[in-house]
């Protein structure tokens, strides 16, 4: 594999077993360049194990992975030169200040000139909102401040790939918002591969999502595809004012309608229409309803799932197997 197909990360059958326990089963992933790729899964699903393998912190027991077309085992150092990493619970040397930590990090990548390195450190401090705490010892940092420092140190080398393990986990709502904004800003420069439990964040910023459960990949798709329920029938949600019983019969009788469920509430009727032909549904459904001149259509649109729903359904399905 090389980067010509646009993928920054490519894994093939990547597996990891710890003392007989299979933590990851044959993972196949393709992470496109300049994407924000959400890596989801319940605790113990194998997300951190995957991340650690990509960084050479732990070795796969089977399969292979390439980052920028380079083998993670054979060329780990070359890979790490182009990666920024934020650990799930980032820890640094307590006797150092934030600035000293960033200086130490920067020296793994650059040897000078000193003033430009200091300028870069200042830049990432500002980006992470730590300017006023730059010269304070890390010992007194809160969880959120450590997380911000983690984000700063991960960016010091202008990485081509940012790997973030639960980047917003210990942040307050403002901090979370800031992290997501930074991620969106960085999209044009870098690829972001991140694991998280906060599905709302994934839905907001991710382009693609992979869902892992018990070490197995149970879904991998662009976020839109996942939310639209790719592979299953399209579902349209319609809200109608008035007595919609006749309209319901007309619509349900169409060959492209698979099922129609209706729920009346406060003079409004909410339909969920599952269809086999989206074009026909979009062309004809409204006309069929409005044949009855007493009805008003309050809303009409394709129903998108929220990520939490999709995630929970997939995990539930997988667990019941």
């Amino acid at each position: 594999m090389n980067t010509s197909n646009g993928n920054v990360i490519h894994t093939q059958g990547l597996s990891k077993a710890y003392k007989g326990v299979q933590a990851l089963h044959g993972l196949n992933l393709e992470v496109p360049r300049n994407s924000i790729y959400g890596f989801l899964g319940p605790n113990g699903a194998g997300k951190s194990t995957t991340i650690k393998m990509l960084l050479g912190l732990t070795r796969p027991t089977a399969g292979k992975a390439l980052v920028f077309g380079r083998d993670i085992n054979q060329e780990s150092l070359a890979v790490r030169r182009r990666v920024g990493y934020l650990a799930q619970d980032p820890r640094y040397y307590e006797h150092m200040t934030a600035r000293q930590t960033l200086r130490y990090t920067a020296r793994f990548f650059y040897r000078g000139p000193r003033d430009l390195m200091e300028a870069r450190i200042e830049e990432v401090l500002e980006l992470a909102g730590l300017e006023d705490k730059a010269d304070r010892s890390i010992k007194g940092f809160s969880g959120g401040e450590r997380q911000r420092l983690g984000i700063a140190q991960a960016q010091v080398n202008y990485p081509d790939l940012l790997i973030l393990d639960e980047p917003a986990a210990s942040l307050d709502p403002q901090g979370r918002h800031d992290v997501l904004t930074v991620m969106e800003t960085l999209r044009k420069y870098t690829t972001i591969f991140y694991s998280t439990h906060i599905l709302e964040d994934v839905q907001r910023v991710s382009d693609s999502v992979a869902i892992l459960n018990h070490g197995k990949l149970i879904a991998e798709a662009p976020i839109e595809e996942l939310l639209n329920g790719s592979g299953s029938a399209a579902v349209y949600a319609v809200t109608i004012k008035g007595d919609a019983s006749q309209a319901q019969k007309r619509v349900a009788g169409q060959p492209w309608v698979q099922s129609l469920s209706a729920e009346a509430n406060n003079g409004l009727t909410a339909w969920q229409v599952s269809v086999s032909d989206e074009e026909a549904a979009e062309d004809q459904m409204l006309y069929l309803i409005l044949e009855d001149r007493s009805l008003r259509v309050k809303s009409f649109g394709r129903k998108t799932h929220n990520l939490e729903e999709v995630f929970l359904n997939l995990v539930r399905e997988e667990n019941s197997k």
Binding site: K52, R80, R81, V83, Y104, Y110
Partner: protein, 275 residues
């Protein structure tokens, strides 16, 4: 690497270069060594560690030897022999214990805290991580626990008992103490890579020292020759230019071999560490 991948080779490095930053030279085996060594040395010399250590060892080693120097019970000739035979064996035995106690956990704590994993996620090599620790602890301990007290001892001896000890033999005795220190620093760091808690590391290290100090008389000479347990006697004898057995250099060679072997084990084990 393909042509296309070359063309995208590190957009960000290009950006960095545009900003004038100069990337470090790429050393696969010792990547990040200079940076890690600087940080480790900084922990000794940039904090109060160095003077606290130096103060402890000066008070301990020079304090005891000063008491002996001020004792009236010896003739001037005996006194020289007595103070040297007190100072150097102490610099061998007690500093070894101090090294084990101080160095234990140097790697384990980094594994536990996650700082080792953080460093290893950067372009740094595992060998460089271990070697930086070996060098920094050896340099720090050598200066604070052996070289500073030895220098004070040498001049104090001339001043308090007006005894002049030739400096070359004295340095040979000090060199044995340094080799002994290096042995225990590397032993402790190696045990740190092998265990995940401090207990066995300190226990094994101190047990080895105590065995030498307390049970030397019960151990066959052939075994003693392969250990640092003869170093307390050897260091004093070298400094005082006393007659030495023909095999006096064997423990030095054996300990040097142990040091190389233990370093190799530490590098191998840490290279296989899973974070």
């Amino acid at each position: 690497m393909t042509t296309e991948s070359k063309s995208v080779v590190n957009q960000e490095l290009i950006l960095a270069a545009r900003k004038g930053l100069v990337p470090v030279r790429q050393h696969n085996r010792l990547g990040g060594f200079g940076n890690m060594l600087r940080k480790e040395l900084g922990q000794w010399w940039g904090t109060r560690t160095w003077w606290v250590q130096a103060l402890i060892w000066v008070l301990l080693l020079n304090g005891v030897s000063t008491i002996v120097m001020l004792t009236e019970a010896f003739t001037p000739g005996e006194k020289l022999q007595e103070v040297v035979q007190t100072f150097l064996p102490m610099a061998v035995g007690i500093v070894g214990i101090g090294a084990v106690i101080t160095v234990q956990g140097a790697i384990i704590s980094e594994k536990e805290l996650g700082t080792a994993a953080w460093i290893m996620s950067k372009p740094s090599s595992r060998s460089a991580f271990i070697l930086a620790k070996i060098i920094a602890y050896t340099v720090g301990f050598s200066i604070c626990a052996i070289l500073i007290p030895s220098t004070i001892f040498y001049f104090e001896m001339r001043w308090l008992i007006s005894a002049s000890l030739p400096w070359m033999p004295f340095l040979a005795g000090v060199a044995v103490a340094l080799l002994n220190l290096l042995f225990y620093v590397i032993l402790t760091l190696t045990l740190d890579t092998l265990f995940s808690s401090r207990g066995p590391v300190a226990g094994i290290g101190i047990a080895i020292i105590m065995t030498g100090l307390l049970l030397k008389g019960f151990i066959p000479q052939q075994v003693l020759l392969l250990t640092p347990w003869l170093f307390p006697d050897l260091s004093g004898a070298l400094a005082l230019e006393m007659p030495l057995p023909s095999v006096w250099f064997v423990p030095i060679l054996a300990v040097s071999c142990w040091i190389i072997l233990m370093t190799a084990v530490a590098l191998w084990r840490f290279g296989r560490e899973e974070f």
